[in-house]
Symmetry: C2
Subunit: 130 residues, 2 copies
C-alpha cells in the first residue's frame, strides 16, 4: 500500500474540529464534540490523533496534553515544532523563526546522537496577561 494521501472519515472529523479551534484541544473534549458524528470511543479519537500527528497536520502540546492544528504549510512533517504558551490564559501560538529553527536543526551534542525531531515550548505571559 502506498503512503496514504487522503484522510479517512474519522481522521477528517477529528482534524476538522481541531482546525476550527484556534487553541489546543484535549482528546476527551474532542471526543465529546465528535460524538454527534458517530465517534463513540476514546480510541477512535486517539487513533485519528496519532495519524494526524504523524503526517504533520496537527501537533501535540506535550506540556498540556492537547492538540493544535498546524497552520504552516511548510511543516508537513511534524519534526520541528516551537510553541509559545501563556501560563495565564493558556493561549498557544506556533512559532516560525527561521534563525532559531536553523540553530536547532543544526544542533549537535557531544555524544554522537542522531536527531530527527525536536519540540520546544516557551512559557510566559502574553501581551494581554502581562
Amino acid at each position: 500500500m502506498q503512503k496514504q494521501e487522503t484522510l479517512t472519515k474519522n481522521q477528517k472529523i477529528v482534524l476538522d474540529i481541531i482546525e476550527k479551534s484556534s487553541q489546543p484541544l484535549k482528546a476527551y473534549s474532542i471526543l465529546f464534540d465528535v460524538k454527534k458524528k458517530g465517534i463513540n470511543a476514546p480510541l477512535q479519537v486517539y487513533r485519528a490523533l496519532d495519524k494526524l500527528v504523524k503526517i504533520g497536520k496537527i501537533h501535540k502540546i506535550e506540556s498540556r496534553n492537547a492538540f493544535i492544528a498546524c497552520k504552516n504549510s511548510k511543516c508537513q512533517i511534524a519534526n520541528a515544532t516551537i510553541f509559545s504558551i501563556c501560563e495565564s490564559c493558556e493561549d498557544v501560538t506556533e512559532i516560525h523563526d527561521h534563525k532559531l529553527s536553523e540553530h536547532l536543526r543544526d544542533f549537535k551534542d557531544n555524544k554522537g546522537m542522531k536527531y530527527n525531531k525536536y519540540n520546544l515550548e516557551f512559557f510566559g505571559l502574553c501581551k494581554k496577561c502581562v
Copy 2:
C-alpha cells in the same frame, strides 16, 4: 515563614529515589519504590514532585511524563531545560550548551510575549541504538 531551605521528609525520600536513578522515573514507579518508606498514596508523591520541580532539583520530561534529577549545580531554577531522548532505548540526557541556551534565552517573538521559561526536547537515536 521564610522560603524553605531544607526539604521535608517526603520530599527527601522522593528526591533520593530520583537521584539514584540515571534515567527518568514515572510517578507511580516512584510510588511503588517508596511504599516501604511509608509513602502510601499518589498524592504524596505528586506533591513532593511538584515542589522538587519548582525548586529545580528535578525536571519533568513532558513527552514521557517522567522525572529526572538535575545534575547541573547551575540550574537551581527549573526555567531552562534541554534534553535529548533516544526513541529506541529511551535514554535521556540533560544538555548543557552555552550557545544554544543563550540563543533560547534571548529569543523574542514578534507578539510581545514575556518569557520566563522554556523546555526543549530533542528526539533521535543514541550512539548505541543507531
